[in-house]
């Protein structure tokens, strides 16, 4: 499956990694839901670090939507909230 890290591009990841990534993602989501500023940054970092470690870059000329999209590495919790609320963080 194709995973995008915002600001970094797309990575190809084996489907078998889904469970592991979902677990890391749940921790991130829980931090956002709890409004847990302290837990947020490490949770995002852990998810991004793992995705970068197991993913291989998708060729630049491939035009395909991603199955999963991750916030950029320096994203704040407020930015992630906006991203999730579809409030126009995505232009266009």
């Amino acid at each position: 499956m194709i995973v995008r890290i915002l600001g970094e591009g797309q990575l190809l990841i084996d489907d078998s990694a889904a469970d592991e990534l979902n677990e890391l993602d749940s921790a991130l989501e829980a931090a956002v839901e709890r409004n847990d500023e302290v837990g947020f940054a490490p949770a995002l970092d852990a998810l991004l670090t793992r995705v970068r470690a197991i993913g291989s870059p998708v060729a630049a000329d491939v035009i395909e939507p991603s199955a999963l999209i991750l916030p950029q590495r320096d994203a704040t919790m407020a930015e992630v909230r906006k991203l999730l609320s579809d409030e126009g963080l995505i232009p266009g």
């Binding site: 600001g7 970094e8 591009g9 630049a60 491939v62 939507p65 999963l68 950029q72």
Partner: protein, 275 residues
């Protein structure tokens, strides 16, 4: 339900729904391709301008860092001059200002690194988008030539959704860079004002350079004061040994001279002989 889906999936769905809404607004799928291509070209222009803007801001910060470094160096020299002239009060003043300048510099260095990071990110985004736009152009001509409007729909949807995601990503990166650049401009403007007000830079180069002015004013009297101080020191040092040793050796006397005097050998013979 949505809350349990995970951040990654939710964000991807939001991107897709945006693309779908845009697709729904298009009547002819082939026109969608051309229209999308136009907006891609516009975005490419925008991201390139963004890279240039960030670079301009970065250079401005670099310039300010250099100016502040010069201020810091000069204040340091002034502090030394003041101290060797026996003006500890002036030296303290200069060092206090130097500390202020250094605080500004360290702040600017942080901003500089941040802008450098934004520039790199935007440059990467620009390159990725360029590659995708080129691929899209080829793809759209292939789709238009090969398929009927109805057949083309699925392929168009996929290409459109894919490129929309890229464009959304790039658009956000541009926005973030713009925000940082704006903050930067405000700070840079504030520092320019500080320099213009004489609080930082003019201490060194402008008419309000009171430390230098004081040092200059002391210029004429400087040698006299230094000479007086040296004489006092000599008298104090000279009187004690002379009481103990009946025949003071000239060589020993010279070795006892403070280092400040050694730096001015021309003055030594007359000063030493005279006393």
């Amino acid at each position: 339900m949505v809350a349990l889906m995970g951040v990654m999936k939710r964000v991807s769905l939001i991107f897709k729904s945006k693309a779908n809404r845009a697709l729904d607004r298009m009547e002819d799928p082939r026109e969608t391709l051309d229209y999308s291509y136009q907006t891609q070209l516009e975005l490419l222009q925008k991201v390139r301008r963004g890279v240039a803007d960030v670079a301009t801001s970065r250079k401005r910060v670099e310039l300010q860092i250099n100016q502040l470094q010069q201020s810091s160096d000069k204040l340091d020299r002034q502090a030394r001059d003041a101290l060797s002239a026996g003006r500890e009060d002036l030296a303290r003043d200069a060092l206090t200002r130097k500390a202020g300048v250094q605080t500004q510099m360290s702040d600017l260095n942080t901003q500089y690194t941040s802008l450098q990071g934004e520039e790199e990110k935007l440059t990467g985004a620009s390159q990725r988008l360029q590659a995708k736009v080129d691929a899209f152009r080829t793809k759209k001509e292939t789709i238009k030539a090969t398929y009927t409007a109805a057949e083309a729909q699925t392929r168009i949807n996929e290409a459109f959704t894919g490129i929309s995601e890229e464009m959304g990503d790039v658009g956000m990166a541009i926005q973030r860079a713009e925000d940082k650049t704006e903050q930067m401009k405000a700070r840079a403007g504030a520092i320019d004002e500080l320099m213009a007000s004489g609080a930082l830079d003019d201490v060194v180069s402008g008419p309000r350079d009171d430390i230098q002015a004081e040092l200059d004013r002391m210029g004429a009297g400087h040698d006299v004061d230094a000479e007086l101080a040296r004489m006092k020191t000599e008298l104090e040092q000279g009187s004690a040994p002379r009481q103990l040793e009946s025949t003071p050796e000239p060589a020993q006397g010279a070795a006892d001279l403070p280092s400040a005097q050694v730096a001015q050998p021309a003055d030594q013979p007359s000063a030493g002989d005279g006393q």
